[in-house]
Symmetry: C2
Subunit: 437 residues, 2 copies
């Protein structure tokens, strides 16, 4: 018998929650079958990775501090090596990127640079969850990181139907009103309007405007998460973000550099321009309140990491569209290749169906049988193929008849191999071959 | 009238809490008087800062991955640039550092590398705060970052008398028993046994053993925070950490590289070897539960930042004692200079008294009048001197007759100038000259 010092039941409930265990489980399966083709990972493409570039990014940002901002040598060293500004040191470059790539006009003072987008999510939810009556809405299926962050602050997440438009407005309105009738306080609705993870669905511009109108009518904040907006499918136009259309400070905007520069910097940000009235009569942006929370979570985002991102931004005049020409082409190519490959392997009108997203990393495949973790293990072990059970993106966690395929970290040859294996798996399970007891 | 979108009272209570506002206030005062001599900042010495060293650190760690761990070029790039292991990638080097410098034997799997020590603190408190009956003890006066992190998870902090030994064991025992009698669940006691911030007090080895015995007898965890242990005063020996003396997994150990390498990497860690029994019958270290929480706060600590710290560790065979020869000498020199300077300016036996710490950054000066934020403003504005009101380290926040001086980020000449100004301020306030209305 191994000695036990603490029972998990004496720890915060989040550590034994399906949302947190789910992330763990998926990572462990991937580690367990390193030779399997992975259509599971949502990580960015690695072909263009070169860690020697870190030096160029760092040096470019150091020159920016000296030449553009007029810092002397000691000030440059202090900026990179010492404790620093809680809200970050690349906020002005992020504002320029948003202007150049998203036509958004953002006051840099309303930006908090965070340790990845995950910290941005956590800070916003921590600020908004003030009372046990608070509740968050999120379009289902939902990114696990959102659900997990909500668990850490004991904030219940109520699902909103997504549907073909990205969010079912009638369902959202009904949900908000029902919650209020129950004495709850709806704080916000979390949405990913562009190539959502995991559904792949996007909202058209008219629907975005309707969502903003609904948020105003129902006095609701919208939390817009936009990690994939830069990656439309071939021949598809990008759409304005919700925040670009937001004239009433209804939208808290979450940004990530994990897919557009590199994940290893762990740099993201939040734009929070909502005016908060303090108890002392002062008024300032919500960003300042988030910064106070951040000072007790991570103090400030590593200025070294920020310098890497800042240098990468400066290399292309703050345009990540320009910086990602190769990556954008690779993702669009892979997405087209996956969708074409599905069509070649599964007959039209048959029981296997799939989404054809307008961009991003993810395709959802519907199959004529329940998809659970045991099937994922079997797929990895017997077929050498990893994917993600869609059940992980629903709060109930019950098996659904769908799985998520990701095209972001593979080559076309790996996609072909993966789809051959998927076809074999689906054929065998449908025929009842080797089904688990 | 400025428009207001949200009242601060609708946000989580922490954002309007004295602990979080305190950190903000002190930063703002410092920014407001950039020309003042600062005996307030606890930041490390900058004379030896050189941001060009980042390249050397990064390259040394890349070579370590290739030469020592056998990774190929693509694996090295992936390790630095991609998403990575939640518990970190320099855990083996941290374990070696703890063996070399602290004679601690630590299983690397019980280490979580965090975004600064602050995130380590947050993760531990988030895990331990499971129920409204949970309560934390902390030696008063207490580091503001601990109090702030506790606020974020709604965990009440009860003060324990510090006294000359670093913690008053009778007061701790009585406090724990009182809390249990009230139906509360004491989770842990937070201590800084070496050169504590802000008191400067250290525990001797016998007292550390008594504290461990008490923790065992009362079934209490100890959270040991050790940011300054490497910096004894001239002629003083270092003592074993609580964790080095801990034979019963009673101590959760928090480590920081902010003072021993550089703050800008934002890398710290927690050693959490407590055995946690899961609801599925498995047993694993508390570190694994903390990692699950971390995956929803920051995903993983930037591998680029970790590489900077890893490279710095490798440069001195993982000994930070060896790496900090110049810094240790500078801090010891400054501490001696400050204490001597106080003795030259304030008569022995007079109303002004001060601590003579055995190391670290901080000296507490007791004065014959209350020290509040208004006096700090006056000191900065009229005397050009910054320090920290001790009131900020007590939960009640009421003015106490003491202030904290820091020697870490100044030269001996600045210490002289600062002490001249302090003597002038103390003289004027004592004489009732120019007292605020």
């Amino acid at each position: 018998m191994e000695p036990v010092d603490l029972a998990v039941t004496t720890l915060h409930g989040s550590v034994d929650d399906p949302a947190l265990n789910s992330m763990n489980f998926l990572n462990e399966v991937a580690q367990h079958y390193p030779e399997a083709v992975s259509l599971a990972a949502g990580r960015p493409y690695e072909e263009f990775f070169d860690s020697a570039l870190l030096h160029a990014h760092l040096d470019r940002f150091r020159r920016h501090l000296a030449d553009d901002l007029g810092l002397d040598r000691a000030q440059v060293d202090r900026t990179l090596l010492q404790y620093g500004r809680t809200k970050g040191i690349v906020h002005h470059l992020i504002a320029r990127h948003l202007a150049v790539d998203e036509r958004m006009t953002v006051d840099p003072e309303t930006i908090v640079v965070t340790v990845g987008c995950q910290e941005a999510m956590f800070l916003v939810l921590r600020a908004l969850r003030a009372d046990p009556a608070d509740v968050l809405f999120a379009v289902a299926p939902t990114y696990v990181g959102l659900t997990g962050a909500a668990r850490l602050v004991d904030l219940p997440v109520r699902p909103v139907a997504g549907g073909p438009d990205g969010v079912d407005l009638a369902d959202l309105r009904a949900g908000v009103r029902r919650a209020r009738a129950e004495g709850l306080r709806p704080r916000a609705c979390y949405v990913m309007p562009d190539f959502a993870n995991p559904s792949g669905v996007s909202m058209d511009t008219a629907h975005r405007r309707r969502l903003l109108d609904l948020a105003a009518a129902e006095d609701l904040l919208l939390i817009e998460d936009n990690p994939y907006g830069l990656f439309p499918a071939a021949g598809t136009d990008r759409r304005p973000t919700l925040k670009a259309l937001d004239t009433a400070r209804r939208v808290v905007y979450l940004g990530s550099f994990a897919k557009t520069v590199l994940p290893g910097a762990r740099v993201g940000y939040v734009v929070a321009d909502q005016r908060v009235g303090g108890s002392d009569g002062t008024v300032g942006p919500l960003a300042d309140q988030l910064a106070k929370i951040k000072s007790m979570v991570t103090v400030n985002t590593s200025p070294i990491s920020q310098a890497v991102i800042g240098g990468a931004l400066l290399a292309h005049d703050c345009s990540l569209v320009a910086a990602n020409v190769r990556e954008r082409a690779a993702y669009a190519r892979n997405l087209g290749h996956l969708v074409d490959g599905l069509a070649r392997r599964f007959p039209a009108g048959g029981p296997v169906r799939w989404t054809v997203p307008a961009g991003g990393f993810f395709v959802v495949v519907t199959v004529p049988f329940p998809v659970d973790d045991a099937l994922l293990h079997r797929s990895a072990r017997e077929y050498g193929l990893l994917w993600t059970p869609m059940a992980h993106f629903y709060d109930a966690g019950t098996p659904v008849r769908a799985l998520r395929l990701s095209v972001s970290a593979v080559t076309p040859a790996q996609i072909d191999l993966g789809l051959d294996r998927l076809a074999a798996l689906v054929g065998d399970v449908t025929a009842g071959v080797g089904a688990p007891a």
